[in-house]
Amino acid sequence: MSAPAAPSLLPLLAVLVSLAAVPLILLSSRRPRLRETWTLAAAAAKFGLVLALLPGALQGRIAVFGLFEIVPGVRLELRADPLGVLFALVASGLWILTSLYSIGYTRGLNEHKQTRYFAFFAVCLSATVGIAFAANLVTFILFYEILTIATYPLVIHKETPEAVSAGRKYLAFTLSAGVLLIAAAAWSFLLVGDLDFKPGGIFTGLALAGKTAVPLFLLFLGGVGVKSAVMPLHSWLPAAMVAPTPVSALLHAVAVVKAGVFGLVRVVVFVFGPDLLRRFHLDSVLIVLAVTTILVGSLLALRQDNLKRRLAYSTVSHLSYIVLGTALLSGPAIIGALLHLAFHATMKITLFFCAGAIYVNLHRENVSELNGTGKIMPWTMAAFTLGSLGLCGVPPLNGFVSKWFLGSAAVGSGRPLLAGVLILSGLLNAAYLLPIVQRSFFRRGSGLEGRREASPWMVAPLVLTAVLSLALGLFPGTFHQLAVRVAAGLFGG
């Protein structure tokens, strides 16, 4: 890469800080306040460390930390390039809010095994930032697999038969994806002898034949496609909604699934490279998959009565916006994709937080039971409304910004039909989200007498994320600059 690399401990510390909190969390299992303090301290420290990497990333100074050879020829190496910083910023920033929210949620429900919950949450965040900063495929796989395993105890947290079977499904999908990714990495290693992510791809010097490139790409796609919930590899995600809501919010709307699409971006433009994809029309394959997922995901969301499952299908659909933006292989499109990676996170996490607040407060989880909730939980439902409007792409929320970039990139790359898909999807978003808003504010509910707003531990984070969605819509500056940096590194100024 042309950008200068500066050795720095920061990426390593950013990864490790939440891991270091794990023993502290475990040791203070009998003192909940102390335990939660560790979580919050780790979250704040992590965000601070990532923030410290931001100026460098914006100016093109990339912090690198190499440890040792993890397999012959490949080092365990962290590298905070603009793309990595963008993802790490989203994940670590939202972890702070999720931690606050988790405290309210777990106490509100008097959840069992809270120590295990907070400990694995911290491991997940280490793995996520590790994924963001991974400098090569092996390092990426290391953290990717750790994330898979660390999420499992959170998915099965309730320990009901339903949770256990969702956990099995989750493992079946993600572990299968893991082995495909390993096979793909091993194959690439034999072809190139080097697995460092490079803008434009690692195969540039080789004239790969179609019978190598196509199966190799399919292996990679299988590897990262599961966590990105590209259809038909998506069905673990709705099942995983059995997890506690903060888990669904941060992991299944932000960290895990975004790790999947982040991996897809890495594979598409940092391993394969646009030229190779275009030569074998693999970009079209991706586009078809993404469009199918966007539309079918939205349609399936319409049919869900369970609020979290509806949101899960919505996530499936929105993740493919990012896939689509990546597959278009142009500067503006990748900017749109990365903006959506960040912005979808704030909007979707808001909606999940709201779903959790309703569940804790009213023990309701179905859309059909939400009549009148807006009157007793005004803050929650106002935040829900903002998040919903954002997902539909209404200005000035941040969802509009990313969709605008995606749509104009689609038109710019001579595929105006895809912009039509985005508009159609926006309408479908409205169709499955706005009725919830309408029910909660404009219909009379029953059994709500004497109920009040949820605890401030939960309301404050969800209001903050909603406001964040609005603020980022008005001032998308930092994320836009990061995305522009990434695009410039890939496709030139």
Partner: protein, 502 residues
């Protein structure tokens, strides 16, 4: 003095211990264990020292009685034998620390002395097999090891004599095949020395007798390493043997067969002979692949943890067989690294099974529940870590075995074998998560609830520590794999298969 006889030290230490233990323990029985530990520690120290010796000064030869090789018996310490002996002696040392209490629990006191003597004899045999440079001497040690092992299995629970008898019969057949093969070789070449044979065989050519000799030797080692479908003796032997025996033989025993296979195929006959002249390597890789699937599927159906681990061993030996059968440098590195990796994983898992037996009185999977885990949190954690390693998740050793083997299969363009290795990860996940789910998620059963009030009752430190050391080593050795592979293992690669990493 010491440097020249370094290759012979480890087998002799164990042999000496085997002779001294019955005498010394005539008066004081407890001495048996002390002496066994001392011998194991000494042998482990010697074999670790040998690694550095080999790295420093290359292959070391030792001639017994000073007789030059074709006539006399030669011991050879090369990177491969140094590595394997270090692995087996270190594993044995850790397992023996654990064994004191399980032996005391499993066997009546009068059997302790012969038991430890037999363990020493077996270890002497294993070390001899690996270090000798002479095919007939190898046979002698093979029989020493096997005969001691029959005894070590037979002292187990009620069904163990049958299992031991079965191993006796099948093992004898294996030894017989091997001896026949050696005989054929000797008649046609006039030599029993490996290095000598390597020089003679090309001149002899691919005579039918030579091919038959090779096939018989492979068959013999195939039985010893439980290469599918020659694994029939293994499940019962692992299941019914006492804890100490199964945790010694599972990580070490089958690897010795794999070592013999490697030696014969690539260091005596040579890669061209075993892949082109007689496509035995291909046959081995197909059998190994079948074994991987068979072992994994059978493991899913088991109720007894030790039996599940036994079938899992058949699958894991398949990894080694597959790496050998690929006959390329990456495959061989994967196979030899997996000797170490699987040794650590299986030792850890069998110690866990032993811990469960010690505290719960059983190791039946269906009877495990979260009550068992609450009583034994560390043992359960060790199990989980080892299980993750068996599945092949980074940064545990299992991932790295998979990495090298995957590289090996892709290099040969053997897509089916690649698929088998990957599928095996998932099958491992199925049968290990079956246990993990029970340990962590299944509510404690009624009869356990009474015990639950007792709270934590982990096994004694002398059992827990080895278990945890092995579990931790899965991560440490995993992260150190490059040091091992680049520093030591690439040096063992046989002629025609040299390799340098970029």
């Amino acid at each position: 003095m010491i440097p020249t006889n370094a290759p012979a030290l480890a087998p002799l230490i164990f042999l000496l211990a085997a002779l001294i233990i019955p005498l010394a323990a005539l008066r004081i029985r407890r001495l048996a264990y002390v002496l066994a530990m001392a011998a194991a520690a000494a042998a482990a120290a010697v074999s670790v020292g040998n690694i550095f010796r080999v790295l420093e000064s290359g292959t070391v030869h030792y001639r017994f009685g000073g007789w030059p090789p074709p006539l006399g018996i030669e011991y050879v310490l090369d990177p491969l034998s140094a590595f394997i002996t270090a692995v087996i002696n270190l594993t044995a040392l850790v397992v023996l620390v654990h064994a004191r209490l399980t032996v005391a629990a499993d066997l009546p006191e009068r059997k302790h002395v012969p038991y430890y003597a037999l363990v020493m004899l077996m270890m002497s045999g294993f070390n001899g097999i690996v270090l000798t440079g002479d095919f007939f001497n190898l046979y002698v040690f093979l029989e020493i090891a096997s005969l001691s092992l029959y005894g070590l299995i037979a002292v187990g629970d009620r069904k163990s004599p049958v299992a031991a008898f079965r191993y006796l019969v099948i093992g004898m057949v294996g030894g017989g095949f091997y001896l026949l093969g050696v005989g054929f070789l000797y008649i046609n070449s006039g030599s029993l020395n490996m290095a000598d044979l390597k020089a003679i065989l090309p001149a002899v050519g691919a005579r039918p007798e030579i091919i038959v000799a090779l096939c018989f030797m492979v068959l013999g080692f195939g039985i010893k390493m439980a290469l599918f479908p020659l694994h029939g003796w293994l499940p019962d032997a692992y299941t019914y043997a006492p804890t100490a025996t199964s945790s010694l033989m599972a990580p070490i025993g089958t690897k010795i067969g794999a070592y013999g296979l490697l030696r014969v195929l690539f260091f005596v006959f040579g890669v061209n002979f075993v892949t082109r002249t007689v496509p035995l390597a291909q046959v081995i890789s197909w059998l190994a692949a079948a074994g991987i699937l068979y072992g994994s599927i059978m493991a899913m159906a088991q109720d007894e943890l030790k039996r599940m681990l036994a079938f899992s061993s058949i699958a894991q030996v398949g990894y080694i067989g597959l790496g050998i059968g690929l006959a390329n440098p990456l495959g061989l590195l994967g196979a030899v690294l997996h000797v170490l990796n699987h040794g650590l994983m299986k030792a850890c898992l069998f110690l866990v099974a032993g811990n469960f037996r010690m505290r719960l009185g059983h190791s039946r999977i269906r009877a495990l529940d979260s009550g068992a885990r609450r009583r034994m949190p560390w043992t359960s954690a060790a199990f989980t870590l080892a299980a993750l390693s068996m599945i092949g998740l980074p940064p545990t050793v299992g991932f790295f075995s998979k990495w090298y083997l995957a590289l090996g299969t892709i290099r040969n363009r053997s897509w089916i074998f690649l698929a088998v290795i990957l599928a095996s990860s998932l099958l491992n996940a199925v049968y290990f998560f079956r246990v993990i789910e029970r340990l962590y998620l299944r509510p404690a059963m009624q009869d356990n609830e009474a015990r639950e009030t007792e709270g934590r009752s982990e096994v004694a430190p002398s059992m827990l520590l080895p278990t945890l050391v092995l579990a931790l080593s899965l991560v440490v050795i995993g992260l150190l794999n490059v040091v091992i592979v680049k520093g030591l293992l690439v040096r063992f690669l046989p002629p025609g298969l040299e390799f340098a990493f970029p």
